[in-house]
Every structure is written in structure tokens, then in C-alpha cells.
Amino acid sequence: MANYLSGGFRSYLYRDLLLAVRDRSDLSKPLMFFLLVAIMVPLAIAPEASKLATIAPGLIWILALLATLLSIERLFSEDYADGSLEQLLINPNMLIMPILGKVTAHWLVIGLPLTILSPVIAIWFSLPTAAMIPMILSLALGTAVLSLIGAVGAALTLPRQGGVLLALLVMPLYMPVLIFGSATIQSAVDGLNWLSPLAMLAALLAVAIVLCPLAISAGLRIAKNG
């Protein structure tokens, strides 16, 4: 009875991290996408520092959003195919903790590397150095929200592997994150107070951590019930 609430977080986190490390192609695809697009943009648009710096805040956030979206659809589909989802559903403990474990693993594998890579792209886009720390903070918080919301979509579209439906379902929910995320960087570039949009992101994360696992567990049960 003791692990009714806490049971499963660690084992699912550890397992998903191991799976991600073993299957590196999965891990590197969204990151390669993030880097490649970022490299091509200055080549396609003008390589002028002033022009790039104006589009950089929005662009970095769009890239982070799409990279998360690309990777999230596989969060549950493999488990569904090989039967581990059944084992997850008949876990006597609450579903919330294993789900949080899986989403945390997804963030550690996608969101965190994106956050760590972002300064490279910021330099590439000649973003002012004053915006560097706000950007890193906003990406760290924001990608976690993106993982949580994306997982809801992945659970709801489950028997099929996401695709267009997932994008349509999740995109409207991604908008607030996109707006406050790029606003954080933009305010820092303009020399305004960037803490308030960042605080909004943190608030979104707090709400998402509480509500998304509930929605995900309901979605998984529906998916399995056909």
C-alpha cells in the first residue's frame, strides 16, 4: 500500500532513458532537425546580424516546438505494440507516477538537449548575450510543458501513431507556451522585464504537471478500450 502513489516513477524513468540511449537514432532525429533548420535559415534568408537577431526569438521557439512534436508521437505507440502498455494499465498503483516517469524521460532526452544546444544557435543567429540566460531558462521550462501536453495528444491518438491528427490536437494547446516562450527572449532582447513571461511559463508547467498525467491516464485507458 505504501507505494500506491510513488510506485513506478523510477523504474519507468530508468527504463525509458535506457531505451533512448540504446536506440540513438530516435534520440538524434529531433535534435538534428533542430540544428539543420537553424543552420539553413541564415543561408536562405539574409546573413545579416540585425535581421537574424529580430527573427531569432520566435524561430528558436518554433524549432523547439516542432522538434518536440516530432518525437512525442512515439512515446506510447511502441509500448502499445509490444504489450508493455497493458502491463502499465494493470499496475495496481496509480498510473500517474509511471506516466510522469515516462514524460520526464522524454524531456531529459529531447527538451534538455535542445536547451543545452540552444546557445550555439543563439550565437549563430547573433542573439544579444543578454538574452542568453532568459532563453535557456524559458526553453528548460517550456519544453517540459511541451512534453506533457504532447503526451496527452499521443495518448489520445494512440492506436494509430499520431501524425497529422496529433499535430492538430496539440498545436492549439502549444500556443500559450510558444507565445510566452518567445516573449521571454524578446523582452530580454528589448531590455524589458523578462521575468514575468518566464513566470507565466513556470505557472503553465505547474498546471501541466498536475493536470496532464490525469488526462494521459484517461486517454490511455480509452485507447486500450477501443
Binding site: M1, N3, Y4, G7, G8, R10, S11, Y12, Y14, R15, L18, L19, R22, D23, A81, D82, G83, S84, E86, Q87, L89, I90, N91, P92, N93, K224, N225, G226
Partner: protein, 233 residues
């Protein structure tokens, strides 16, 4: 009359002093009553009724597509039945979900073995959370995979993967086993090993529901046939 009195005392009263359960009131582990399931407007099988006591193995029989796997998924609460009830120790499983599922081990048709993980890692995450290393390697030795502990499951044969999943029989603490086609792709020794495991479990007071198209040689089983649904006029 005195012998009858003695019998009642011996069977019903005396055991209570010893903290034993009376054989007359032995609780029925699992009771399935009038269970029906409907999917996409088709009813899968004739309503199902059976009881399962400690020490009993029940073999589900039925042609392919008769709904054996669905029945397992109903019994584990993955699906909700459209009518009927499943009770565990006298209570509906919806009311004691935690206690019930804590006591259930379900090895499905898809065995949940991850190809990218090693044999040992697979068994570890499928076992109860604080299973010791010794217990895991003992279980792997018992299923004949002791030397493969560090090998990834992608490199194993289908039968060996099945053995990885079946190693859970040794690490689990559940009393109710639901095994969906446990013998598929196993060799003769594998089948023998599963049978030994099952009879051991029954001796210890466990109960098993399993589906299989072959009969077991060592384990005494009751069988229950799933009939295709026929509408009553």
C-alpha cells in the same frame, strides 16, 4: 448425530482456533458471473460463468477469435464488460482494484519484452520494484537463460523471448496467474518447465487461468470452453 456434530466442529469451528480457513467457507478467489462483452456492435462470446478456488488451474478453450485474450483483458480490468460481474474474494473488482491487481500476474499474448534491453533489465522492470539481484538471476537460471543475462533481447529467438517473459512467474508474488498462451514457441523442455512452475504455484495455494491449445501433462486442469455468441430467439 454425534459424528455429524463432530464433523461440523472439526471442519468449521476447530480451524478458526488455529487461524485456518474452514474448508466449507473457503473463499472463492475469483468469480465470473454472466460476463458479456460487446465490441463494434458484435457480441463476442456466450455469457461466461465460472468460479476459481485456490489450487485450481482453469484452461480456457475456444477456437481462434473466440475471445480468450479479450476475456483476459476483461479480467485484468483493461476492458470494461458490457454486462456481468467479476468478483475477487467476494467483492467486485471495481471496488478493490488495488488489492486485486496487486494479487494478479498477467502475461499477455504480447509479452512486453523490449528488444533493446538486456534479458536481465527486461526481467527487472517487469518484476516487483525491489526484487533482489539474486532472485532475478535465479529466475533466469531456472528458465535456462542464466548465461544470456547481458544479451539484448533483440538477439534472442522467439522461444527465448517467451522464456524471458515467463521468468516473471518466479519473481512475482501474485497468487492469481493469468497466462495467455504461455506455451507458444516454447520447446519441450520449456513446456515442462512452465508446467513445473504452475504445479508448484498450485501447491502453494495459488490459482491459474490460462489459455492453450495443447493439454498439459503434469498439471491437473479444469477446462472452460468459450462458445461463440448465439442470439436467443
Amino acid at each position: 448425530m454425534p459424528t455429524a456434530f463432530f464433523a461440523v466442529f472439526w471442519h468449521n469451528v476447530f480451524p478458526y482456533f488455529q487461524g485456518l480457513e474452514s474448508p466449507l467457507t473457503t473463499h472463492i478467489f475469483l468469480k465470473v458471473e454472466n460476463l458479456a462483452f460487446e465490441r463494434n456492435d458484435t457480441v463476442l462470446f456466450q455469457p461466461i460463468d465460472f468460479e476459481l478456488n485456490a489450487g485450481v488451474a482453469l484452461q480456457l478453450e475456444g477456437v481462434n477469435g473466440s475471445g480468450k485474450t479479450t476475456l483476459f483483458q476483461l479480467m485484468t480490468g483493461i476492458f470494461q464488460p458490457s454486462s456481468g460481474q467479476i468478483s475477487y474474494c467476494g467483492q467486485s473488482i471495481d471496488n478493490c482494484r488495488y488489492e486485486y491487481l496487486y494479487d494478479v500476474l498477467y502475461i499477455g499474448h504480447q509479452s512486453a519484452v523490449k528488444a533493446a534491453l538486456t534479458v536481465e533489465e527486461n526481467l527487472r522492470w517487469m518484476s516487483p520494484e525491489n526484487t533482489s539481484y539474486e532472485k532475478i538471476s535465479a529466475a533466469l537460471d531456472a528458465v535456462g537463460l542464466g548465461e544470456y543475462q547481458k544479451i539484448r533481447c533483440a538477439n534472442l529467438s522467439a522461444g527465448q523471448k517467451r522464456r524471458v517473459a515467463l521468468a516473471r512467474l518466479m519473481t512475482s508474488q501474485a497468487t492469481l496467474w493469468f497466462l495467455d498462451e504461455p506455451l507458444t514457441s516454447l520447446d519441450k523442455q520449456g513446456v515442462e518447465m512452465v508446467e513445473q512452475c504452475m504445479s508448484q504455484h498450485l501447491k502453494q495455494g495459488g490459482a491459474i487461468v490460462f489459455s492453450s491449445h495443447q493439454d498439459l501433462a503434469q498439471v491437473k486442469t479444469r477446462s472452460y470452453g468459450l462458445e461463440p455468441y448465439v442470439e436467443v430467439a
